[in-house]
Amino acid sequence: MKLRVVIVDDEPMARNFLEHYCEKCDKLQVTGSFPSAETALDYLKNNEIDILFLDVEMPGNSGFQLMDQLMYLPQIVLTSAKTDYAFEAFQYNVADYLKKPFTYNRFLEAVGKVTDAPASRKVTNKQEDIFIKSEGKFTRINYHDILYIESIGDYVKYFTLLKNYVSHGTLKAVEEKLNHGHFMKVHRSYIVNLRKIKDIQDYSLVIEGKVIPISKVLKSEVLQRINIV
C-alpha cells in the first residue's frame, strides 16, 4: 500500500517539483496539493494521510501554525528556502527538513526517514499546559491563555486574560522550559505569546492594551516570526 502524501507550498514550481518526485517514487501517492495552510486545513482535518511535505514561510498561516491546528500529525517533512527554522523543526519533532531546491536523492533520503519511523500517524505530543507555582500551590495554565510573561526582580509574572500569577524564578529559566513555538523573548524583561500581539510599532508591541518594548537586536526576529500579509 502506498503512503498517502499531502504537499503544502505557496510556490507553484516548488509544489510541482515535489509532485513530480512523488510520482517517480513507487511508495508514494499524492492525495492533495495545496498553495496555503488555510486551503489545506480542512482536507487535513478530514483525511488520514501518512506524510505532509510542508513549507514553513507562506502568506497567511505558516507551516508551524498549520501543525498547531491539527489534532493529529502525520510524519512531517519541512521544506523551506532557508534553514533558520531548525530549532522550531526540532521542537515539532519533524522527520526531516529539506532546504529548497533539493535533488531527488535528497528527497528519497527524507522519504526513507519517514518510512523507517515507527508510526505514520501519531497524536501530537506537544504539551499544552504548564504548572506554575504561585501563592503556595501549583496551578495549571494552558499555553494559549498566557498573554505575556514579565520579569520582576527574582520573580516572573504570568499575565492571562482572567488572572495574573507571580512565581519565583527568572525569565531565562522560563524561556528554557517554555516548549512552545508561539512564545518569544522580545526584551530582557518580557516573553510574549506571538499569537496575542495586537500591534507592532517601531520598537514596541501591544497585547491587550499593554505596551511591551522590543529590544533592537530582536526586532527583525520578531517580524520574521509573526505573519505579515
Binding site: D10, E11, P12, M13, A14, N16, F17, H20, E57, P59, A81, K82, K100, P101, T103, Y104, N105, S220, L223, Q224, I228
Partner: protein, 124 residues
C-alpha cells in the same frame, strides 16, 4: 545531462542541473517552461513590494521566488536573493537596498534569453 547527451549552457549551473534532472529532459523542459511563464509576473510582484517601501513584504516576496532560479540553473541568483532577504532585516529603509536590488533585477533580465534558448533546445 546524462542519457540524452544534453549539455546545458555553461552560463548556468550545469552540475546542479544534471543532479536535479538526472537526464529527465521532459521534466526539465516542463520546469523551464513554467519558469518562463511565471517569472515576469513574479518579478512584477517583487517590484511592486519594493516600490511600496514595505521591507517585510518585499522580503517575503524575495523569499518566495528565491528557490525558483536554482530550478533553471541560476543558483547565483538564488544566492543574490538570499543576500537581499538577509539585508531586509538589517536596513532601516528599503531604499538602502536600491543598488543591490537593481543589480539582481538586471541579472534576471540578462538570463531570461538564455533560459528561453535552453527551453527550445530541451524541446528538440
Amino acid at each position: 545531462m546524462n542519457g540524452n547527451d544534453f549539455a546545458f549552457d555553461s552560463r548556468l549551473d550545469t552540475a546542479f542541473l544534471d543532479l536535479l534532472y538526472e537526464g529527465d529532459r521532459e521534466h526539465a523542459a516542463r520546469v523551464f517552461d513554467q519558469f518562463l511563464k511565471g517569472i515576469h509576473m513574479q518579478i512584477k510582484e517583487v517590484d511592486d513590494e519594493f516600490a511600496s517601501g514595505n521591507t517585510e513584504l518585499f522580503r517575503r516576496k524575495v523569499h518566495m521566488i528565491k528557490p525558483i532560479f536554482s530550478f533553471v540553473g541560476l543558483t547565483g541568483l538564488t544566492g543574490k536573493a538570499e543576500i537581499i532577504e538577509k539585508k531586509c532585516n538589517q536596513v532601516s529603509m528599503i531604499t538602502d537596498m536600491t543598488d543591490l536590488y537593481k543589480d539582481f533585477r538586471s541579472n534576471i533580465v540578462e538570463y531570461i534569453p538564455i533560459i528561453e534558448t535552453e527551453l527550445l533546445k530541451l524541446k528538440v
